[in-house]
Symmetry: C2
Subunit: 206 residues, 2 copies
Amino acid sequence: MGRTSDAREKIITAAQTLIELRGYSALGVAEICKAAGVPKGSFYYFFESKEALALAVIDEHWAAQKRDWTRILGDDAPPLERMRRLFEATEAAQHAGQQTCGTVSGCMFGNLTLEMSNQTESIRARLQEIFDAQVDMVEAVVLEARERGEVTVTDAHAAAASVVAQLEGQVLFAKLYNDTGRLSPLWTNCLAILGAQAPLEAVASA
Amino acid sequence: MGRTSDAREKIITAAQTLIELRGYSALGVAEICKAAGVPKGSFYYFFESKEALALAVIDEHWAAQKRDWTRILGDDAPPLERMRRLFEATEAAQHAGQQTCGTVSGCMFGNLTLEMSNQTESIRARLQEIFDAQVDMVEAVVLEARERGEVTVTDAHAAAASVVAQLEGQVLFAKLYNDTGRLSPLWTNCLAILGAQAPLEAVASA
């Protein structure tokens, strides 16, 4: 039992790395099993299809990222400070990935959205759930900041969606230019989108 | 000569449609030639490789989009009004694509950035040139708006990059949710990112 669980985990880990490097469509089951060091025959013991594996990879990646987001955004620091830390953590994670792989690999969910969401409804639905959850988490922080009179935005949900869209757009550029410095405007743009009340510098150093 | 030019054009047109529907990695030369109605043997007469075809598709798509952007952003309407029209045109184009394909296919350059830019340096370089050009075109409009005292942003180039990033991020969501209504916050967010001086409604109806 220990060995079979290991094999499943190895397949997921190998697939996650390969998907980050080369996307989903370009991968074959044989290649994934080879990278995982697992006999090809055992793949279908754990996964019904390559699509089922992709969903497992997405779920595992989101479980880890959700833990990070919850820790950062659920902290007891002031709400806008938590938003700032989320962007810093994103930049740090992309930078760490760049050090490991030699190139910024971007956001797995954004990558799979543009590669797959119009082709595979199960993947589209899972990615929608994840981005919905991200927007909800940001919205909760926006509502807190508004309660404190720090932001003026009227539609907190739409603003939160725009903050996440801005994040995805800048991560796209960080990947294209292989430069995590592209993420540095996130904080200023977030304050602008939310209609932050205080001068930006004052909020930034709060 | 007429016939050979036709074949090249047919291959590019078929590849563009297939790339929009299914991405680049999933495609094979045989499938592209079949969709183009061109014998497979003739492919390598026109293109050295599938990568060379991808570059030709990108160039052709950018030539058309650049014409649209130049017409809209180079118009003699007030600068912010031109920005607004760019977002409207983007939403209309995505909506038209959705009517044809049944699903929002997003921005080909954004799609290929997330699918390919960390794998193929020639494609990365070409996409960088295109996004650089887009940012330059937006920056020119931002500088005009600032000259007129309509926006307050200090780093016009960074702000223009953020506007394009916001566009890519919202197009990503339009594709994921198959809903071009996701593009409607672009105008308000653009005004916020640029630090528009007038109340939004006044600028919007200017």
